[in-house]
């Protein structure tokens, strides 16, 4: 059975690094893996997505609507754009951190106020916290993406894979401890 993971966020938030580490772990564990991402123009502060599919044999690298097992939204409002992709009883992991686009600061577009309540009403399997605050508390806002990876892995049930080893092999040496701490925080926080 193919599993579908959707990472959504804002350009520069690290969705690509997260998916890179996850797919490396999956490949080492013997899964067939496909991963879709779009580079280029949309990276400049725009809305971005990375899709991971794994199983015995995977054909399409892109996920169909209504089939995502887990959506991880790296930003509070970005899940709205992709909520139709979540399958029935799928899990939504939300980073409550907010990034205002200039369209909001200039009153060209509205940032919905009661988002968390709305998600709670809509999605049964809804988990949320502020990964940005946790990242800052352990000393580096850039590890936010690894905190979210920790939460994602917890809900995939992929506990047979040695994720700490995968992280060790994926990040620069002097950042290994920090990233493993971030991963553990993310795993334990929800």
């Amino acid at each position: 059975m193919t599993k579908n993971i959707l990472l959504v966020g804002v350009g520069g938030q690290g969705t690509i690094l997260t998916s890179k580490i996850m797919s490396k772990g999956l490949l080492d564990a013997g899964y067939d893996v496909k991963m879709a991402e779009i580079h280029g123009m949309s990276q400049r502060g725009g809305s971005v997505t990375t899709q991971i599919r794994y199983g015995n044999k995977v054909y399409s690298p892109v996920i169909e609507k209504g089939t995502a097992d887990i959506i991880v939204s790296f930003e509070r409002s970005e899940a709205l754009r992709w909520i139709e992709y979540l399958k029935k009883d799928g899990i939504l992991i939300l980073n409550e951190h907010q990034i205002q686009p200039f369209t909001v600061t200039l009153d060209l577009s509205e940032y919905p106020g009661n988002l968390i309540e709305e998600y709670k009403k809509m999605v049964v399997n809804f988990k949320s916290y502020d990964a940005f605050q946790i990242a800052k508390s352990i000393g580096n806002s850039k590890v936010m993406s690894i905190i979210l990876l920790g939460s994602l892995i917890k809900y995939t049930g992929l506990n047979d894979i040695d994720w700490k080893k995968v992280i060790e092999e994926s990040v620069p040496e002097n950042f290994i401890d920090l990233n493993i701490e971030a991963f553990t925080k993310g795993y334990e926080v929800i």
């Binding site: 490949l27 893996v33 949309s42 690298p61 089939t67 577009s109």
Partner: protein
């Protein structure tokens, strides 16, 4: 060893394993990472060329010399390289020559979605289309064998979803074939009319041989399943069709698509009850198949515009719509791409927008193309690479011929685009003495595609220090008078304002060079790491003037503006704009 690779990494790997020695490219999404990855291998020559025509010709020269070569580019880049591509098709090849085109259904970062398979037919060359990263490696190797055996260019066509999707690959060993000698042969290499007349019939003979190969090659294969539905498909459409139909259909997967395997297709059509052709964009295969009198369904149900998805194929083929379990009336805020915090283009646009009602801004391809968006809104046209200067000239001449001079023409072009195809336009400008002001936004890197070196960087694709081409001297050599060239730092709004006034008032060809390195370059990030601007909430009147610069580091909390320190690089554009001295510079 099994690993994950994007299609672009795999194409580079395939070229390396096939023994390619020389390759050239101009960056362009979604093709850029092919050369970025190829340049990391050893015992090869890899370069960034100033444009795709140059890239193709460098690779062609290597092919004539007898070594395997490629040129890689985005789909519209092939338009630039078309002259050499079309002509070299008549030469054939010596060392294998592959031109890689990365097409873009859905136009994630492009101005059109032209289907470059049509170029293969137009040029009468072989066409190969892989469906995943493993095939990118394997088919590149076939491409060189085909190019050499059948004396042809191979057009290697991929699309964004192939280029940027990671799939599992098995790496092979590199084998460099014995390099062919160059033998002088004017009838093959000098394409004057007398020789071309001899070559064209030979190309037709080669095509017939390629047609036979197409019917018997491993790149085209039949996968029989349920015979009630037969699907002829290519590229990513194969993966989508398999995802949706599995073994409930039979497939003819086309990996070698010019010439098409006509006999295989006829044979396959007889074995299935209902035949579909699934291909993104143009009905390239479908039109040919129908011309052979074969009944099939294609563009009657599958769109020409945009990209396909498993959702779309499920809906069109089976009438099954996705099961949506969650939806809401709340909408995510619009989040278009934006000039980064600290982008040097922002200062220029901040001053340029003052001329909005009395100037026509002829734009070009690059990050500064985002200047058309709110709140900057100081761009009026973008056509294609290099068209800014030339179109501005035509606009200005139109002004003069009609006597309506409400909008003075300005051209805006980046350093990489200027080297790509802006220089000839500037020569034409001065040669024909046209009073247009050209602004060269020089951030010394090809930024939008992710920082590739170019002639203004002073570094090559492989990281070697090289001659840095001086844009100011180049403008002088193009005939711009010394007094009509002004170089400014776009972080300095007053200097920018003064230069623009000079440009607006000038009655001669005028150039402003707005020079400041891209804020995202690693050394620049490091250099400016501690430089920040801060809002003094006591002084902030919430007039929102600073927000009109469109800087994403400026955020709102309550009724005050604050600056997101993780984004800010202390460029001070907001500080200079503020009328209440509410923003100050902190850090060194």
């Amino acid at each position: 060893m099994k690993t994950l690779m994007t299609g672009n990494e795999a194409i580079a790997r395939g070229a390396y394993e096939a023994g390619v020695l020389v390759a050239s490219s101009y960056p362009g999404t979604p093709s850029t990472e092919i050369m970025e990855n190829f340049s990391k291998y050893e015992d090869i020559y890899a370069e960034w060329a100033p444009n795709e025509k140059v890239a193709a010709e460098v690779a062609i020269g290597a092919s004539i010399r007898g070594v395997r070569s490629f040129a890689s580019m985005k789909h519209v880049g092939v338009n630039v390289a078309a002259d050499s591509f079309m002509s070299y098709a008549y030469h054939g090849s010596n060392g294998g020559f592959v031109l890689i085109t990365a097409d873009e259904p859905n136009m994630f970062s492009s101005q059109n979605e032209q289907d470059n398979r049509l170029y293969a037919k137009h040029a009468k060359v072989a066409l190969i289309e892989p469906s995943n990263s493993q095939e990118c490696i394997d088919y590149m190797k076939y491409a060189y064998e085909i190019s050499e055996k059948y004396d042809t260019t191979v057009l290697f066509r991929v699309t964004t979803r192939i280029c940027h999707s990671k799939t599992v690959v098995e790496l092979g060993k590199r084998t460099v074939p014995e390099v062919k000698q160059f033998e002088k042969n004017p009838k093959k290499y000098i394409m004057v009319p007398a020789h071309s007349r001899g070559r064209h019939p030979q190309i037709e003979i080669n095509l017939e041989e390629l047609r036979k190969y197409s019917n018997n090659c491993p790149l085209n294969r039949v996968e029989m399943g349920d015979t009630s539905v037969g699907i002829i498909c290519n590229g990513i459409s194969y993966e989508y069709a398999k995802e949706v139909m599995g073994n409930k259909a039979s497939y003819l997967k086309i990996g070698f698509s010019n010439p098409l395997p006509d006999e295989m297709i006829k044979d396959f059509s007889k074995k299935v009850d209902k035949l579909y052709v699934i291909e993104e964009n143009e009905p390239f295969m479908e039109t040919q198949i129908k011309s052979w009198g074969i009944n099939c369904t294609g563009k009657e149900i599958f769109p020409i515009c945009g990209e396909f998805s498993p959702n779309l194929i499920r809906e069109k083929l089976l009438g099954i719509e996705p099961e949506i379990s969650y939806s809401t009336d709340l909408q995510a805020p619009s989040r278009p791409p934006v000039l980064c915090a600290g982008c040097p283009h922002r200062g220029l646009y901040q001053e340029l927008k003052r001329y909005k009602n009395k100037a026509f801004f002829s734009g070009d391809i690059g990050c500064y193309g985002l200047g058309y968006l709110q709140p900057l809104e100081a761009l009026d046209s973008i056509i294609c690479m290099g068209a800014s200067i030339t179109a501005a000239q035509g606009f200005q001449r139109g002004n003069e011929m009609t006597g309506d001079t409400k909008y003075k023409a300005f051209a805006l072009i980046g350093d990489s685009t200027f080297f790509h195809s802006g220089i000839t336009g500037l020569v034409n400008m001065t040669y024909n003495n046209t009073p247009v002001t050209t602004i060269i936004l020089d951030n010394s890197i090809t930024a939008m595609t992710g920082h590739q070196e170019n002639p203004s960087t002073g570094v090559t694709a492989s990281g070697e220090i090289t001659t840095k081409i001086d844009i100011e001297k180049l403008c002088l050599a193009c005939g711009i008078k010394d007094k009509n060239i002004v170089t400014i730092d776009p972080y300095d709004l007053l200097a920018t304002k003064n230069a623009l006034k000079m440009g607006y008032d000038s009655k001669e060809s005028f150039v402003i060079i707005a020079k400041r390195e891209c804020a995202l370059l690693k050394p620049i990030i490091k250099e400016r790491e501690k430089m920040k601007c801060e809002v003094d909430p006591e002084k902030c009147t919430f007039c929102k003037l600073c927000l009109r610069t469109g800087c994403p580091a400026l955020q709102i909390k309550g009724d005050k503006v604050f600056i997101d320190e993780s984004q800010c690089n202390g460029c001070t554009v907001c500080l200079q704009v503020c009328s209440f001295d509410a923003i100050e510079k902190v850090g060194e």
